[in-house]
């Protein structure tokens, strides 16, 4: 089964589940004559279920058509570089809370540049440090955005930097 049809079927199942789940915990409207909290989502979901059903049919029809192009292979759709980058993005958004902005960004930047193709160690280090400093100065110092500090020694380091910047 192709990736697109699989995703569409998964989405269809989720929509059908959500159609019923939308009413869970929703009490009838307190004011008579008002729409309940589940009414609008259910209208949208009903439309989405019908549209997905027709889309799955259209996908199946286009796959079985004589002039159909070959299905995109999973390896082609998710090349190794993409998989590594996607995992790195997820990891970055999770570790930010623990390592703080400075440490996690230096590591993230260097690793992302490496995945894209930069191999020179000095450029990796210089690029990641400069980019982190630029973003830190713009957002933390000029715009007063409180960037994540992290925990433990990373937190102490972030606070030390903030005092230094003052």
């Amino acid at each position: 089964m192709g990736i697109e049809i699989t995703v569409n079927i998964a989405l269809l199942c989720f929509c059908i589940f959500s159609f019923f789940y939308a009413g869970v915990g929703v009490t009838p409207p307190a004011i008579p004559g008002t729409l309940s909290a589940s009414a609008w989502p259910r209208v949208i979901l009903a439309g989405l279920i019908v549209a997905l059903f027709f889309n799955i049919r259209a996908c199946r029809a286009s796959r079985s058509a004589p002039d159909a192009k070959s299905e995109i292979a999973i390896a082609e759709f998710f090349p190794p570089k993409f998989v590594k980058s996607a995992l790195l993005l997820i990891a970055y958004s999770i570790v930010l809370n623990y390592l703080g902005f400075i440490t996690s960004t230096v590591i993230f930047f260097a690793l992302f540049s490496y995945i894209i193709g930069l191999r020179k160690i000095s450029s990796l280090i210089a690029g990641s440090v400069v980019a982190t400093i630029v973003i830190y100065v713009v957002f933390q110092i000029f715009l007063q955005v409180m960037l994540p500090r992290g925990v433990w020694i990373f937190r102490d380091f972030a606070i030390w930097l903030e005092i230094l910047a003052l």
């Binding site: 990736i3 697109e4 995703v7 929509c15 789940y21 939308a22 915990g25 929703v26 009490t27 409207p29 307190a30 004011i31 008579p32 004559g33 008002t34 729409l35 309940s36 909290a37 589940s38 609008w40 989502p41 949208i44 979901l45 439309g47 989405l48 549209a51 027709f54 889309n55 995109i72 759709f77 090349p79 570089k81 993409f82 980058s85 996607a86 993005l89 997820i90 970055y92 958004s93 999770i94 930010l96 809370n97 902005f101 960004t105 993230f108 930047f109 992302f112 540049s113 995945i115 894209i116 193709g117 930069l118 980019a131 973003i135 713009v138 957002f139 715009l143 955005v145 409180m146 960037l147």
Partner: protein, 499 residues
């Protein structure tokens, strides 16, 4: 007071060295803040409030309106160069701006958005000056049912955004509307489709979702299948070989006029604003264009429509603020707060007791919209230089700006995760020809549609038919149905003819 006297009173405030200097500073800061992802126009205005303490109230509002106008324009710069909407109202600018940048026409696109923005801003400022009171009275006639119809009019563009992939675009739009319902119910106050998550109680945040869909997905696409982005150098009116020709400007004249009027009217409506104005303007031009297939592929008309409409909304937003003391949007609300800090009582009597507010805001906006072109070109040149950075640095830099920009809106780390997940979803959608733009449209308009529909039904005590029986609503809904069905009928007829 005659117009001449009014203008003289405004000129006496605005054309003083101090206020002019502040307007220049406001312009520079506004364009820079607008160009930084995550800093919305209202946030830019809020950040500039401390500066107003050294100005008198009339000077303050003139300064803040300069920041507001230039921030909305500044948002278009990264939208073209990096596909990152600097402000939510620039999301539509990415549709045609980025494809132009990829084709080596970044300078042309930048020049076009600056002049279009200036035109939209000037027309709306003029509208604000001349018909402020009348326009706000029309705007106030719009109740929840009319506002629902206006938002629905924005959604009616779904079937014509990509006529070849109509079903996929509709699915994307419906998905956006569905995602917008995952939050605490605004009327009953009960969690709805949040699956036990406390984060979802506040709804899926718009800025992270938009930034992820447009910026992160593009970096992931570049990582998976690198393509070269050509740069034509810095945008310049004189030297750039890619400047916009007179014939091209001439062909855009009606787009500019139509979108300026539409943007001003949308700006007046409470709760609507620059974002909705840009979507509506873009949708209107698709409907009116003889070549709708060009939209989304670097259409100059699409780019012009988006930027003219969103900047025209800035003047519109000032109308209810000045004439009735009602803030039409977030930025206007921040301006009210700034005036209240100075002890000014904002309300319907403001313009009667001090008419110079209206003319000074007009003159400030006029000066801003002219100055902005020059200042934004300088800022854009700085941003263009960023594009010469090798992609192994530029890619992660874009991700970083996207992540910190998303985080800055609410200081919530989970927003960064949402940005990354939206980026991956956006990548999938682009690969399989779904429409991230339609999803964003649904996400933006979903909340407005639902809230206004439910309020309207509440007013009519459950009589849904009565909601649509109001003349303006009925008219707008008829237009919506025509807009929604016309492409479907056209496609059906074409396929029959083909058979």
């Amino acid at each position: 007071m005659s117009i001449y006297e009014l203008m003289m009173a405004g000129a006496a405030v605005v054309f003083t060295p101090k206020v002019l200097l502040f307007i220049c500073i406001g312009n520079i800061m506004g364009v820079i803040f607008g160009a930084l992802p995550g800093i919305s126009a209202s946030m830019a205005v809020a950040l500039m409030i401390p500066f107003t303490l050294t100005l008198d109230p009339v000077g303050s509002i003139a300064f803040l309106s300069a920041v507001y106008c230039s921030a909305v324009t500044g948002g278009g710069i990264p939208a073209i160069l990096f596909k990152i909407p600097g402000t939510p109202s620039s999301a539509v600018t990415t549709f045609d701006g980025y494809p132009l940048a990829c084709r080596g026409k970044a300078g042309k696109a930048l020049l076009l958005i600056l002049v279009s923005s200036a035109f939209g801003g000037l027309v709306s400022a003029l509208g604000m000056l001349l018909v402020s009171r009348q326009l706000s009275e029309i705007g106030l006639r719009f109740g929840p049912s009319e506002l629902f119809a206006v938002a629905f009019l924005g959604l009616s563009v779904l079937t014509s955004m990509d006529e070849d992939k109509m079903l996929k675009t509709v699915i994307s739009g419906l998905l956006g509307l569905f995602l917008a319902t995952m939050a605490m119910d605004p009327v009953e106050g009960v969690p709805r489709l949040t699956f036990g998550s406390t984060y979802l109680l506040g709804g899926i945040p718009m800025i992270p979702a938009m930034v992820g869909m447009f910026a992160v997905s593009e970096v992931l696409k570049q990582v998976a299948r690198p393509t070269e982005i050509k740069i034509d150098g810095t945008p310049s009116l004189k030297d750039s070989p890619m400047h916009v020709s007179f014939a091209e400007w001439w062909s855009l004249k009606w787009t500019m006029i139509r979108c300026s009027i539409l943007g001003t009217l949308v700006g007046i409506l409470p709760g609507a604003g620059a974002t909705i104005a840009s979507f509506l303007g873009y949708g209107m031009e698709i409907k009116l264009s003889k070549h709708p297939e060009e939209f989304g592929n670097g259409s100059l008309t699409g780019l012009c429509a988006s930027e003219t409409s969103n900047n025209a909304a800035t003047g519109g937003a000032m109308v209810p603020l000045l004439s009735l003391g009602i803030p039409g949007g977030n930025a206007a609300a921040v301006m009210v707060a700034a005036l209240m800090l100075q002890g000014v009582q904002v309300g319907p009597l403001l313009l009667k007791s001090q008419p110079s507010y209206l003319s000074s805001v007009f003159l400030s906006m006029a000066v801003t919209n002219v100055l902005m072109v020059v200042i934004a070109v300088v800022v854009a040149k700085m941003f263009v230089k960023l594009m010469k950075i090798p992609y192994y640095f530029l890619g992660p830099l874009i991700i970083l700006f996207a992540a910190v920009g998303s985080y800055a809106a609410q200081n919530n780390i989970t927003d960064i995760l949402v940005t990354m997940l939206a980026g991956m979803a956006g990548y999938f959608m682009i690969e399989f020809r779904y429409s991230p733009a339609a999803l964003t449209l649904g996400l933006v308009l979903g909340d407005i549609c639902e809230n206004n529909l439910r309020r309207a039904v509440m007013i009519t005590r459950g009589d849904v038919l009565a909601v649509f029986a109001r003349p303006i609503t009925a008219g707008l809904m008829t237009v919506c149905v025509i807009f929604l069905l016309l492409p479907v009928i056209k496609k059906f007829l074409r396929s029959r003819r083909g058979v």
